[in-house]
Symmetry: C2
Subunit: 150 residues, 2 copies
């Protein structure tokens, strides 16, 4: 990858100069609905990457867990997240910490997109999907059962 | 430091639950004017930190350089930055990459604050201030000479 320009201007609708709009994950690799991914910062000797994800109205990320932590800031819209054993509402600029091996899933509101920054170690392990036993355990809590999309 | 809550809500005026408002640097340690610092994410096995800096109207950060890179996103207001040999205007959500050893300085507009996220390696070298010879070299460019505050 070429080095980015030192200043990359934001354009309307949460896009940026020189930043490609990517698929969240390869289609069919995991359950998700209506998400895009933009890698804002990578390389340059930085030990982390900063990505921007946007979930369309009513869409959701994959329910997954992994050893590496996520550091999230909401940039746009409203939604909710499952982290560990709780579901929390999210609004602009809220911060979400996803510790090692915590199950997590993000959802956009029905009314509009949820966009968020996610800082993550450049070197990281691959996500794990829940087994049927994991899902059964999570669903023992009615709030989690109502939230989860797989 | 205790682990942060998994969701920390944003409050008015670019503050966050459980996030302390800090001085930018120790007073007198380097030239700067009217800046605060908030550490949004640190620890949790993350190889980087994510900080939020806010420069008051007309204020400026320190002119400095270092080996570690900065990855910056403007969150609030307008201003400008010097990176390397150029001065660029900044507006909301613009991205700034500060490569290794590039001189850099941020300024807020006269009309209001400039707030920005800055991602940085947790392990990093200390900033270097310009010598008189460095300043003379930078000031050979009239645009830089007009911008620099020391």
């Amino acid at each position: 990858m070429n080095a980015p320009s030192r200043v990359r201007k934001a354009s309307a609708d949460f896009r940026w100069d020189e930043v490609e709009l990517l698929a969240y994950k390869p289609e069919g690799s995991a359950p998700f609905r209506d998400i895009t991914r933009q890698v804002l910062f990578t390389g340059e000797g930085l030990a982390c990457e900063l990505r921007y994800f946007e979930i369309g109205a009513g869409g959701h990320s994959t329910l997954e867990r992994h050893e590496h932590a996520h550091a999230v800031m909401v940039l746009r819209g409203r939604g909710a997240c499952l982290v560990g054993d709780a579901v929390r509402a999210l609004a602009e600029r809220d911060l979400v910490t996803i510790p090692a091996f915590a199950w997590h899933q993000f959802r956009a509101s029905e009314g509009g997109p949820l966009g968020f920054l996610c800082m993550v170690n450049a070197e990281r392990d691959r996500p794990q999907l829940p087994t049927e036993a994991d899902l059964a355990a999570l669903r023992r809590d009615p709030k989690l059962a109502a939230f989860i999309r797989v």
